[in-house]
Subunit: 356 residues, 2 copies
């Protein structure tokens, strides 16, 4: 399929610096979630780039990641120019990450429209996704709004931020960004029909991103602009980057701007945020068990096994997630999957770098 | 400590051919329970022989095991003459095993008293044990009874045979051997005060063992006697052994003889018959968890971890036994520990010899 050349030039920015500690022991510092094939055959990173391929030129797809992950990221994406893998000197949240992408990309494509995506989410319905992207791109170009994709909630999730909207049609107005709600509030949001999950996917012209950052968070532009004007010496980026405030793009920009529009996503989306979320993508057997790898289960129900090279034999088990790696094993009750983060914290506190 | 030389010459026969499938994945065909240090630092086999050392000469301690285990058994017991490790051509239950020991040992020590033990039980109170052995030896020599040790029940176990006794004092009369009982019957046995667990430990003179086998099960003697008379060619033992009936010594002899006495054991005993039985030997922490190896447990109670080389991280776990080996992992609810045998059976049915 030949990339469409009509319309404004689209550039994609895939944020791929995450560590994904919630998938320990399969994810590690050097092998984060986006490097894993959590759903399907491709890694989440590769799937994200493959999804863009029909509609974006390879030279217009950028990845932003960390120093530690850059080499592997380039190796995993040989179809992209190596220079398109941008390297953050350190993780400082999403606003600096996108400001860096802006500073670098606007030199090459000053009139481009930027599509911001995460490397570690799952998206179904690829064609609908690309149609929604084009809709958002057109809106950003024509109406000069900052566009965000809203995911229609299917249950009262308390772990996501919400966007309250007004109006109807394919593009809505944004009234407010809402922080992660309490359960009762999440139920109200779900019932309102006007609240959408904030999936961290944005579309804006580079010019508008600069203008709105300048208006609401100028301190995130100045150090990078100075660095660019001084010759963009990679050795000096760390110092400039270290001066940027550690802010999310939601906080730095989206909550403050009055030029925000929402495209309700027609595609399916999951942030693949935990082991139970991954289980949802796999077929269970008649006892509710899901098995990857070599396992024998007796009198067990509702378990999920992500096996390694060894046989796993279980008896009398219920509601467990079991993840087997060569050097570590996780056995976790499904409703305590959030404890994986505590385990990682504990390993860090114990200095067990070999396992992180 | 110099072995005591007074009294009749005692020979010990340690039955050590068991496979111990109930300790999979730690126990395997080539690494059975008696080769493992299930309790304490020594293997159960080594502990059994060490326990005898103060009272038996090394040349009077015999081990009966299988072809497959003989080399390792000799290697583990360098203090014994290699020829004292007797090799069964095949497992045919305990009566053939002891008939073979009888045939071989009576050539060297025709007037000896044989003390029969299992290689895979735990015995506490070593001094009391040796005192009880000497008491049984004296009784066997003086009264010419077949003596069995009775273990006073502490709960209504349904997995053991029982011996009903009469009389009192340090040596009791045996009224009957009782098969593994139903629970209600086990409760009656426990309450009677006259029933003891049959721990498969016996003491008898070699002469009486021969005479009583001749009286009650002569077909177990004839093939071996012919083999001995023909020169005891090891190459021909298999054929003779194959003709022996597959019977337990309880069935072939003890249930039929009217010359049976019981010495109530003053020592503590455990058959170490399952993973939960092993857990009993180890101290648990304040949450009831017992950990061997490298583990992090969050919000978990009453679990036992027999770790390997990997970190095991658990959260929200309850009443589980976890056994980690390089090629296999067992996760089993404590009250389903008997399922380990089903798992082993299933592996055998699947032809997974690598794991057995």
């Amino acid at each position: 399929m030949t990339p469409k050349k009509k319309g404004p030039r689209k550039v994609a920015v895939v944020m791929a610096g995450g560590r994904g500690t919630r998938f320990w022991p399969r994810s590690r510092g050097s092998r984060p979630k986006q490097f894993l094939a959590m759903v399907g055959e491709e890694t989440l990173l590769n799937a994200t780039v493959s999804r863009l391929a029909p509609s974006f030129l390879p030279e217009d797809i950028y990845i932003v990641t960390t120093e530690e992950l850059a080499a592997d990221t380039r190796r995993m994406l040989p179809q992209l120019p190596p220079a398109n893998v941008l390297v953050e000197p350190e993780g400082r949240n999403t606003a600096p990450c996108l400001a860096l992408a802006l500073a670098i990309i606007e030199r090459k494509t000053p009139d481009g429209v930027m599509v911001v995506l995460s490397a570690d989410a799952w998206i179904g319905d690829k064609d609908l996704f690309l149609e929604d992207v084009d809709l958002a791109v057109s809106h950003a170009r024509d109406k000069r709004d900052l566009v965000t994709f809203g995911i229609r909630p299917t249950y009262p999730e308390t772990g996501y931020g919400y966007i309250e909207t007004e109006g109807d049609g394919p593009v809505l107005g944004a009234i407010a960004f809402r922080e992660k709600p309490q359960y009762e509030t999440a139920v109200e949001y779900l019932e309102s029909g006007r609240h959408f999950w904030n999936a961290g996917m944005f579309v804006w012209t580079l010019q508008d991103l600069r203008a709105e950052l300048q208006a609401h968070c100028p301190e995130i532009l100045a150090p990078l602009d100075e660095w660019m004007q001084a010759g963009a010496d990679p050795a000096k980026l760390g110092k400039a980057y270290g001066r940027l405030p550690k802010l999310s793009i939601d906080y730095a920009l989206m909550e403050k701007s009055d030029r925000v529009a929402v495209v309700p996503a027609r595609f399916r989306w999951s942030d693949v945020g935990s082991w139970p979320a991954v289980v949802e993508f796999h077929e269970a057997d008649g006892s509710g068990n899901m098995v990857q790898g070599d396992a024998i289960l007796l009198e067990s129900t509702n378990c999920a096994i992500f096996g390694g090279k060894r046989l796993i034999a279980g008896s009398g088990l219920e509601d467990l997630i079991i993840v087997d790696e060569a050097d570590a094993l996780l056995i976790c009750r499904k409703d305590r999957a959030q404890d994986v983060k505590l385990i990682v914290d504990k390993l860090a506190a114990l200095g067990r770098k070999d396992l992180l």
